[in-house]
C-alpha cells in the first residue's frame, strides 16, 4: 500500500496537508449544524477519495478520508459523510467489482446518491470489530440482520438502532448473515422496500442524524446479495474499525477546535485587570487540554495509518484511538465550557454543540470501556 511506503510518504503527507487546509477553509464558512452542501463536498473531491479513478474517484486511501472526518469534527459539521462515505463507500470497497457496486461507487463520488451502510447498533457496546482471535460474538453482533431463503429470492429480518445518516439514504447497504450463523454479506436494498422501515431517531446533538432500521421479511432480489471479496468476518470487523476510527478523527478535530477557541478566549477575556489566561489555574487547564489533544493525535494517526495500509494489528490501534480520543475530547470540550465561564454555557456560544457531539461520539461505535475490553482480551 502506498501509504505505508517510505518513498512516497512525504508526498502523500503534503497532499494531505493541502487537503486539510482546503477543507478547513471551506468548512469554516459553514456554521455548525447547518445542512452540508453536498454538491460542494462532491466538487471538492471529498466524496470519491477512496473511489477508483475510472469510477470518477481519486484513488486515494482511508488516510485522506480521515483528514476530512477530522475537519468535519473541527467544524461540528452536519451531513451524511460518516454513513455514506466512510461506511457506505467503505463497504462497497470490500466487495468484488460488479455493475451494481460500480454504479453506487460512481454515484457516491459524484454526490448523486447516498448509499448508507447499516452496521451494528451504533450505541451498542457490541459494536466493536472482532479481534485477531478468540473473541466470540462480536461479528455476530456486528451483523444484526439475517437473510432467509424464499422461493423468489431472499427475505431480510432484523433491526439496527442509531444507524448514522440512514434517514436520508437512497440505498441501504445492510450487513447481514445468511441464516442463523452464516458468513456476513452486504445486502443492497432500497430504503422504501416493503417490509423495511427507517424511523428517524432525533438526538440532542443536532449536528447528527440517526435512524432505526427495521427489516421484517423485506424482499431482497437474488442479485442484491453481495459477498465480500476476502474473508467476510475480517471484512465486517474492518468496517467496524473504520467506523470507530472515523469517529475518533471527528473527536480529535472537535477537541482541537475547543482548545483553539479556549486559548483565544483566555488571551483576551480580562478579570482582576489581566487576561484570565495569565492565571495558573486557567493556564494549567489549557496545558492539560493540549497534552490530551497531542496524545489523541498520535493514537489517531497510528490507527489511520494501520487501517489505510491494512496492517494486521489495525484493530488494536483502532480500539486505542477510539477509547482515548473520544474520552479526551469530552474532557477537552467540558473544560472549554468551564473556562469560557457564563458565556460558555449559553446556547449562542455554540460550545454546547461540541460538548454534545463529543458525548455522542464517545458512545458511538463502541464505548471506551468496550474498546478497552477488546484490548484486555489479549492479556490473558
Amino acid at each position: 500500500m502506498a501509504a505505508g511506503s517510505p518513498d512516497v510518504g512525504d508526498d502523500l503527507a503534503s497532499v494531505r496537508d493541502e487537503l486539510r487546509a482546503v477543507a478547513r477553509d471551506l468548512l469554516r464558512k459553514t456554521p455548525p449544524a447547518t445542512p452540508a452542501d453536498w454538491a460542494l463536498f462532491a466538487s471538492a473531491g471529498w466524496l470519491g477519495l477512496e473511489v477508483p479513478a475510472f469510477l470518477d474517484g481519486a484513488d486515494a486511501t482511508f488516510a485522506e478520508v480521515a483528514v476530512i472526518a477530522q475537519e468535519l469534527g473541527r467544524a461540528a459539521a452536519a451531513g451524511p459523510y460518516l454513513g455514506a462515505i466512510v461506511l457506505g463507500v467503505g463497504a462497497l470497497r470490500e466487495l468484488p467489482p460488479c455493475a451494481g457496486r460500480d454504479t453506487l461507487l460512481r454515484q457516491a463520488a459524484n454526490g448523486d446518491a447516498l448509499g448508507v451502510a447499516v452496521l451494528a447498533e451504533g450505541s451498542a457496546d457490541g459494536a466493536v470489530g472482532a479481534g485477531p482471535a478468540g473473541e466470540r460474538g462480536r461479528t455476530e453482533t456486528a451483523a444484526p440482520f439475517r437473510l432467509e431463503r424464499a422461493a423468489d429470492g431472499w427475505r431480510l429480518h432484523g433491526h439496527a438502532a442509531f444507524v448514522p445518516d440512514a434517514a436520508r439514504a437512497t440505498r441501504l447497504l445492510v450487513l447481514a448473515r445468511e441464516g442463523a450463523d452464516g458468513e456476513p454479506v452486504i445486502v443492497d436494498i432500497d430504503p422504501r422496500a416493503s417490509g423495511l422501515r427507517v424511523a428517524p431517531q432525533p438526538v440532542l446533538d443536532e449536528t447528527r442524524s440517526f435512524a432505526l432500521v427495521t427489516a421484517d421479511g423485506a424482499e431482497v432480489a437474488e442479485g442484491s446479495v453481495w459477498r465480500f471479496a476476502a474473508d467476510p468476518r475480517a471484512a465486517a470487523a474492518r468496517l467496524l474499525d473504520r467506523a470507530a476510527v472515523a469517529v475518533a478523527c471527528d473527536s480529535l478535530g472537535l477537541a482541537e477546535a475547543m482548545l483553539d477557541a479556549t486559548v483565544a478566549y483566555a488571551r483576551v477575556r480580562e478579570q482582576f485587570g489581566r487576561p484570565i489566561g495569565s492565571f495558573q489555574a486557567v493556564k494549567h487547564a489549557c496545558a492539560d487540554m493540549l497534552v490530551a489533544v497531542a496524545v489523541s493525535r498520535e493514537l489517531v494517526s497510528a490507527a489511520v495509518a494501520a487501517l489505510a495500509s491494512g496492517a494486521p494489528d489495525a484493530g488494536v490501534a483502532a480500539s486505542m484511538a477510539k477509547a482515548y480520543a473520544c474520552g479526551a475530547a469530552l474532557d477537552v470540550a467540558g473544560k472549554a465550557m468551564q473556562l469560557h465561564g457564563g458565556i460558555g454555557y449559553t446556547w449562542e456560544s455554540g460550545i454546547h454543540v461540541y460538548l454534545k457531539r463529543a458525548a455522542l461520539n464517545r458512545a458511538l461505535f463502541g464505548s471506551p470501556a468496550a474498546h478497552r475490553q477488546r484490548l484486555a482480551a489479549r492479556y490473558r
Binding site: P6, V263, A266, R267, R274, P275, G277, S278, F279, Q280, V282, K283, H284, C286, A287, D288, L290, V291, A294, V295, S296, E298, L299, S301, A302, A317, M320, A323, Y324, A369, H371, R372, Q373, L375, A376, Y379, R380
Partner: protein, 393 residues
Amino acid sequence: MTSAGVDTDEFRAAVRSWCRSSVPADWRSAQAGVPEAEYVAFQKWWFAELRSAGYAVPHWPARWGGGMSLAEQVVLYSELAAHDAPRLVLAFVAIHHAAATLLAAGTDEQRARHLPAILQGEIWVQGFSEPEAGSDLASLRTTAVRDGDRYIVNGQKLWASGATHADWCLLLARTSPDAPKRRGISYFLLDMRSPGLDVRPIKNAVGESHFCEIFLQDVAIPAGCLVGEENAGWQVAQATLGAERGLTMLELAERLGNAGFRWLVASCARLGVLGSPLVADRLAEFETEIAGLRALCRGLVERHEAGRAGPAEASMVKLYYSELLQRLMDFGTQIEGLPGMEVLRKPASSGWESGAWMLDFIGSWEWTIPGGTSEIQRTIIAERGLGLPREPA
C-alpha cells in the same frame, strides 16, 4: 519511521542475540542491598559492556561513537527493556545532558577532551538547583568571579544526583550580579576533584542517598571550562536541556512499555486479578496511554532532528511521562496491597522498574519533581506552546 523494515528486523535480531548472551540473568538478586561501591562497579561494568557492543551512546553523532537512526534507537531501547537489562543510572547525565551541552555549545577542545572520556566511563553530575533556586532556577546565587585565567566559585548546589561518584559537574553560576537575573548566569564544566568542594549525600523518600548537596568554597575553574559566552549560560542551558528533556524520554518510554506494563500484567496474573473487568479496564487504559506516549516521544525526536520541534514539546512529553508513570505505579501498589509494603529494599541499578510497586510508587515523585516540576512544565506548555500571557511579575 524512516528506516526500511528489513534493516530494522536484522538489527533487532542482532540486539536480541546480544541481550541474550550479555544481560546477566540474576543481576537483580545480585544487586539487592549491595554496598554503594559494588553498585558503582556494576554500573561501570555494564556501561563498558554496552560500549563494546556499540550500544552505549546510540543517540550521539557517528563521529563520536553513535550515529544510530531513530528507528534503530527505538529498537535498541525496546529490546534492552524487554530483556530486562540494567539501566544506565550513573552515566545518565554524562551521556545525555553533558554530551548535548558539549555538542551544541562546547568548543572543539572541550568536545575532544570530554566526549571520548564519557565513552570511557567519565561520570557527570548536574549542578543547577540551589536551596533558594528550585523552580525559579534563574534566581540562583552561586557566584563565579573572574580572576585572570580562571573563575573563583562560591555557593551551594542542591539535588545533584550521583555527585558522590561524579568526575565532572555541569555548573551554573552567576557571573554578573547586577544584570537581569537570566542575563548574568554562566555555564561551566567543573572538575569534581577541585579543592574547595564538599559533597554531602541527602537521603531521599525511598531511603536511598543518590542525590547530594555540593558546597563550593573558593573553587577555581579554568577559563577554558566556560561553555558559550560569559553571561550566556542561561541560554545555553535552555537550548540544550529543553530538548534533552524530551530525548531522554525515548528510552524511558520504551522501558515503560516493554518492562513497566509487562510487569504490571504479570503482577495482575500472579495475583489472580486479570479476569476482573475493573483491572482489565485499567490495564487497557495504561497500554493505550503508553502507546500514545511512545508515539509522542518518537515524534518529538523526529521533529527535533529535523529542527522542527515545537517550543513546548519536550515539556509535554516530560509531564505526560512522569504523571503516567506515577499512575501506573499507584495502580501496581493497589493491586499488590499490603504484601507490597513488605518489600523494604529494591535492587540497585533498577531505577523505577524494580517490580517493587510500593517503592517504585514512592520513587515516582523523582520524575514529577526534578527537571522542572509538573507545575512548571504546565506553565511552560501554556506560555510557550499555546502563547498564553505570562504571569505579571
